[in-house]
């Protein structure tokens, strides 16, 4: 497909991992100087730094390589975030509300065997085994910006299949105007559920044209391997022009409906989180600005947030004529 922004850029040029991995050294030297200015005593601690930069990205047992990735779509020339950043800083409230909770507790979730129930207004409903769903289309790598509603962002090399392929296979009926998706609900494996906060199971949804947009991805991996549980293993949604919480994780159900589904964050706080939740620098969250974002691991929110997270060329036409202040 045609992506105007950065089409045809080789993956190696985007990653440039050597430079990337050395970045922490630069940071550390800089921070060391700052630290020395604050108090020479603490600067000495810089020598205690034990994190081995050459070890990233770490290899986890739970992951297996995904060898048959045939296509690549690189939508940004920005540096990729490190594997340990993508897997160490997550919002997955079923495992706790702290960003480090999912990495700590999501390991308990059993992701095999896994089936996805596809039902509702479609002609081929059924319980689809994970492998069967993945076989619907060739695996592709998609380098996307990821923008959280909390105003931080990352660049992530997802691997997955177009959501449109799975939808076509299910053969939705003309009445189906929305797609609802649900995260697995396993109280014994999800300690965060006991604390509460949202209406479980975590439910999200897209309008049918949004779901069919070529950018919409069902991700099953990143950095060449299957997903870690904290990232929503074994299969999760990625819609890069929307705020991160739209990207429902660990999907067990895809349902075709004829009404706008009620969604988790909209239920919890309708004044702050709309159904659409398109990334929009001109519509602030009531409690903070959305004009800029903090690109992890930077200290400063100096990155300007782009309309539709930089994917306006691919998605803006779907919202033509809509008042995006009203439909936030």
């Amino acid at each position: 497909m045609l992506i105007k922004n950065g089409a045809g850029i080789p993956y190696s040029e985007v990653t440039d991992e050597r430079w990337y991995l050395r970045r922490r050294e630069f940071l550390r030297v800089g921070a060391g100087l700052a630290g020395a200015a604050v108090g020479g005593v603490f600067a000495a601690c810089a020598n205690d730094a034990v994190d081995d930069v050459s070890a990233a990205p770490a290899v986890a047992d739970a992951q297996t390589p995904l060898p048959n990735v045939t296509k690549k779509m690189v939508t940004t020339t920005e540096q990729l975030n490190k594997f340990e950043e993508i897997t160490g800083y997550n919002n997955y409230y079923e495992f706790g509300t702290r960003k480090s909770d999912p990495a700590k507790y999501a390991g308990q979730l059993k992701t095999s065997p896994w089936t996805v129930k596809i039902d509702g207004l479609c002609n081929k409903p059924g319980d689809y085994a994970l492998d069967d769903i993945i076989k619907t289309a060739d695996l592709e790598e998609r380098v996307y910006r990821f923008r959280c509603v909390e105003a931080w962002s990352m660049v992530i090399p997802w691997i997955g299949i177009p959501l449109a392929a799975v939808i076509k296979r299910a053969d939705p009926q003309p009445k189906a105007t929305f797609v609802e998706m649900q995260t697995v609900l396993r109280p014994k494996e999800m300690p965060g559920l006991a604390v509460g906060g949202l209406n479980w199971p975590y439910t999200e949804g897209l309008r049918m044209d949004e779901a069919m947009n070529p950018l919409s991805l069902l991700a099953v991996g990143l950095y060449g391997k299957t997903l870690m549980n904290q990232n929503g293993a074994p299969i999760r949604l990625v819609v890069p022009w929307k705020y991160g919480f739209k990207n429902v994780k660990s999907i067990v159900r895809i349902r075709f409906v004829d009404k706008m589904p009620s969604t988790a964050w909209n239920d919890a706080n309708p004044g702050e989180y709309g159904f659409y939740s398109n990334v929009n620098p001109t519509v602030d969250h009531p409690r903070w600005s959305q004009a800029t974002e903090k690109r992890i691991p930077s200290y400063f929110a100096t990155t300007k947030t782009l309309m539709f997270n930089g994917y306006a060329d691919q998605v803006a036409s779907m919202y033509a004529g809509m008042d995006l202040k009203k439909w936030y």
Binding site: Y93, W152, K294
Partner: protein, 205 residues
Amino acid sequence: MRWRTVLKILVFLLALGPAALLVRGMVTGDLGVNPAETIQLETGRWTFKLLLLTLAVTPVRRLTGWNAVIQFRRMLGLFTFFYGTLHFASYWAFDLVFSFSRMAGDIVKRPFIAMGFASLMLMLPLAITSTKGWIRRLGRNWAVLHRAIYGAAICAAVHFAWKQKVFTGDAVSYAIAVAVLLGFRLVWMLRERGRARARAQTAAS
């Protein structure tokens, strides 16, 4: 050295500890994936913890009769202000990239930020007037002025609760702690009034 001096130095170093650990974390790159957020959250929490400790001094003194504890109140209060300032500075620097106009916009538009800012602004005159000279100059008014700490505590509790995306036990515990510590004052005040009224009645009869 007298034991009180030793204890004061110890409390001073302990109160400095969290800030020292953050500086160390910056140096070693050990503040997690989003270090700016770690600094913001930690300085915020320590502001609140020290505020609660400061508010606890008088109840502890009255309940236990340990009068010497009053000697730590100023230090605890000033450390509260110190962490509050760091907390505010980290928001202004990291989130707003040192923009005064965006800061003004946030304070006007966003009540939870206005609450945090109000809390800090209420503490500012208290920090300034914490010296011996000011205590002498203000005389009786000093104690009245320093009741502003109650307002600062309420603002801080609202600020913290309002910041949460979902209901969390943490924000509730801090709010309860504030309520309990201010509750002591309320009870004392009511008792005092009752006594004053009784005295007035006795005098009248």
